[in-house]
Symmetry: C2
Subunit: 393 residues, 2 copies
C-alpha cells in the first residue's frame, strides 16, 4: 500500500490559499517572447554604487564577513541606522530597537509572525503590494482590504479604515510610497490612521522601501515618528531600493525593544542573521556619500515624466493617477478587454511585445488596472510605448 | 482613552510559546565575563577560503550582484547544485526541483510553512536542533518529540517513531549529522524511517547542514536518494558549514518541482531571493577545489579527539557519547547540580569562565545535558577544560 508521490493534501491549506504570483508568471512568459520591452521590473537598472562595492571587497578580503553576526545585526551597522532614522525619519531609536533583516521583506514577515494569531485580521489598503497579504496568510491571519480613493491619487480612506475594524483586527499594514500605485500617503491622513490605531489598540506595520523616491513636493512621513505610536509600530525599511542594491537583500526594522525580542523568535528561524557581506554593504551605503540617492531620484522623476507623457498619448486605452512616489504607477485600463487584467497583460506581452504586470494580484479594487514600473531606461520606455501605440493603434 | 504602549496581548500567542533562546542568552551573558573560554559557538573559526572571496570580489566588481536573481536562484548555481547532489548525495535532481535559500534555515522554514497546517503534528527526534521546533510552532503546528537511544549514540528509535504517529502527523523532521548530539543516523534506520513515511503518507524534512563532517567511517545518508521518497522529501542543505561561510547565509533545498512551487509562496515573502553576492560565493565554493572541505573535516576530527580526551579526564562530572559527525557533542551531566542545565551552565560561565550551551532547548530528553561545540582552536578547548578541571576540582 505504498504511495510513491506526495498526495494532494500534503501541501498546507495555507499555501494553497496563496495564488501563484502573476509577477513571476509574467517573467516566465516573457522568456517566450523575443526581445520584449519590460515595464514590469521593480529592480533598478543602475548598478550598486562603486564606493559600496569597494567597501565590500575590502571587508571580504579582510575576512570580516565569514562568520555569523549577532542575529540583530552588526552593532556598528545598527549605530549607523540610528543616525539615519533620526536624520531622515524623525525617529529616535536605540540600537536595541533595531533588527537587521534580509531586505524589508523578511522584516515584514517576522513582524506579521510576531503579531498575528490564526484568525486575526490585518487591514491593508487596496491596491497594495501583493506580498503583504501573502505574509498575513502565512501567519494564518486574514487580510482585509480597505479601498483607497483612486481619483484622489489612491489616497487613504480613513473612514473606510474605521468601518473595517472588528474585534479581530490586530494591525494595519501598508506601503508608502506605494508599490503598485505610486501614491505617497499624506502626513495628515497617516496621523488620522494613528488615532484609529490608538483608539482601537492596534499595531501598525509599515513598508517604507521607497522612502527616498518622492516627487512634486510630496514628503514621506514615517508613522513611527509619532511618539505615542512608537511602541506599537513596526517600521520596515530597506537599503535595496535606495542604493540600487536589490540583490544584496538587506534591510532593517525599528520597533520597541520588547517587540524586537518577539520578532527575533521569527527572525532566527527565518535567517539566523542577515547576510554579513550585505551588512558591510549597508554600512558603506549609510556612511558614504548620499549624492547617488539624489541622482537616482532625479532619474526616476524624469522617467516618470516620460512614462506619463507617453500614457497621455494613449488616453483612449489608459487613464492614470500621476505617481508622487516609488517607481511604479497603476493605470486603469479603458480598453474593452481591460476587465480581466491577466489576459489583457498576457495578450499585450505575447502579441504586442510589452511586459507589464496585471493589477489583479494587488487587491480587490486593483482588477482592471496594470502596474507599470519606470525603473528602466528612457529607451525601454519609448520602445514599450512605441509598441503599445502600434498594438492599440 | 489612549494607550501609549503595546498592550501585552499585542504579540501573537504563537511567538509567546517560543522561549527566548538559551544560546543567545548565553551569548549575552558571556559579554559580562572577562575572557570566557567558548565551547558554545557553532560557527567555524576558519575563514571563508581565499578562492571563494576572490571570486566574489570579481563578481561584485563586474556588477553582477546588484539586482535580484530569479527567486529560485541563479540558473548556473542550480546547475552546480545538480552536479553536487548527484556526486555526493546520490540524488538525481533537476534544476526545477531546487530552491536557493538564505542558509538551510530559511529552506527549513519555507518547507514547514508549505507543509504544516495549524494543529498538524511534526515528529522530531529528541535531542534535536532547537530551531526546528520553533519553525513548527511558527506554522501553528505541534512539535512532537520522539526520544532517541542515547546509549547507542543517540540512535533513532524507529519503534518509538511508529508509535508516535497519530492522524494529525504530517511530517518527520530531523538533522543528521546532528546538532546538538553529533549522531550520524544510520542508513538502515533511515530506510526504516522511509518505510514509515510511505506507510503513513507523511513527508520528511531533513537538515543536512553537517553532511561532510563525519568521522570513524560513519557515512552521511540522504533519505531523498531513495527513489520512492524523492517526491515526499524536502532535503535542506547549506554551504555555510561546509565551506566555513556561516555569515554568507546561503543554502538550498531539493524536493519535487510541485513542492518547489508551493515553497516559493513562502520563500518570496521571506526573502524574495537569496543574497546574490552569496550565490556567487556558493558557485565558487561548489565549482572550486574541494580540498578545503577535507582539511576542515580533518581539523574537526582532531578537535573532537582532543575534546573527548579532556572529557575523559572529567569522568566524575560528565559522561558522553562520542560524536560521529557535526562539530557538536552532548555530554550528560553527572554532577549533582546537573539536573537544571540552564543554571548549571550559567554558573559554569560566571564562576568557571567557560561558555557552553544548556541542553534544555533541545528537547524533553535533553535536560541534564549540555552542548559542547569543538569548531574552535585547540588552545580554546584546552583553556576551557583547564578551567573546568579547576572549577570542578
Amino acid at each position: 500500500m505504498r504511495k510513491d508521490v506526495l498526495t494532494k493534501n500534503i501541501a498546507s491549506t495555507r499555501v494553497k490559499k496563496i495564488p501563484a504570483s502573476s509577477i513571476h508568471e509574467m517573467t516566465r512568459l516573457s522568456a517566450q517572447v523575443p526581445d520584449p520591452a519590460f515595464l514590469s521590473w521593480a529592480k533598478p537598472t543602475s548598478g550598486t554604487p562603486e564606493h559600496i562595492n569597494r567597501a565590500v571587497c575590502e571587508a571580504v578580503q579582510r575576512g570580516l564577513v565569514s562568520g555569523y553576526s549577532p542575529s540583530a545585526g552588526l552593532p556598528e551597522l545598527r549605530e549607523a541606522i540610528v543616525e539615519k532614522l533620526k536624520r531622515d525619519n524623525n525617529i529616535d531609536a536605540d540600537t536595541s530597537e533595531l533588527l537587521v533583516t534580509v531586505g524589508a521583506i523578511e522584516g515584514l514577515s517576522a513582524a506579521v509572525m510576531a503579531l498575528i494569531d490564526p484568525g486575526d485580521e490585518v487591514l491593508l489598503p487596496s491596491p497594495n503590494y501583493s506580498t503583504h497579504a501573502q505574509q498575513v496568510v502565512l501567519a494564518s491571519g486574514t487580510p482585509i482590504y480597505v479601498p483607497t480613493i483612486e481619483e484622489e491619487g489612491f489616497r487613504l480612506d480613513i473612514d473606510a479604515f474605521r468601518k473595517a475594524i472588528t474585534p479581530k483586527t490586530k494591525a494595519i499594514m501598508y506601503c508608502t510610497p506605494s508599490n503598485p500605485t505610486g501614491a505617497v500617503f499624506d502626513e495628515k491622513d497617516l496621523r488620522s490612521l494613528a488615532d484609529i490605531t490608538l483608539e482601537n489598540d492596534l499595531a501598525v506595520i509599515t513598508d517604507e522601501s521607497y522612502e527616498y523616491f518622492t516627487f512634486d513636493g510630496a514628503r514621506h512621513f514615517s508613522i513611527g515618528s509619532i511618539p505615542e505610536l512608537k511602541d506599537r509600530t513596526i517600521s520596515c525599511f530597506t537599503l535595496t531600493k535606495t542604493y540600487a542594491m536589490t540583490g544584496w537583500r538587506i534591510g532593517y526594522v525599528h520597533t520597541s525593544s520588547d517587540m524586537i525580542t518577539q520578532m527575533q523568535k521569527a527572525h532566527i528561524p527565518f535567517a539566523i542573521c542577515a547576510p554579513v557581506v550585505s551588512q558591510y554593504a549597508a554600512m558603506a551605503a549609510l556612511r558614504g556619500p548620499q549624492d547617488c540617492v539624489s541622482k537616482f531620484r532625479a532619474n526616476y522623476l524624469s522617467l516618470r515624466d516620460l512614462a506619463c507623457k507617453r500614457l497621455d498619448e494613449l488616453s483612449s486605452v489608459f487613464t492614470y493617477q500621476k505617481p508622487r512616489g516609488s517607481y511604479c504607477m497603476f493605470p486603469k485600463i479603458l480598453h474593452k478587454d481591460g476587465a480581466d487584467s491577466k489576459s489583457f497583460c498576457k495578450k499585450l506581452l505575447l502579441e504586442g511585445g510589452v511586459s507589464t504586470t496585471p493589477g489583479t494580484d494587488f487587491g480587490p479594487t486593483a482588477e482592471g488596472h496594470l502596474r507599470i514600473t519606470f525603473c528602466c531606461t528612457e529607451a525601454e520606455i519609448n520602445k514599450a510605448f512605441d509598441r503599445m501605440e502600434k498594438y492599440f493603434g
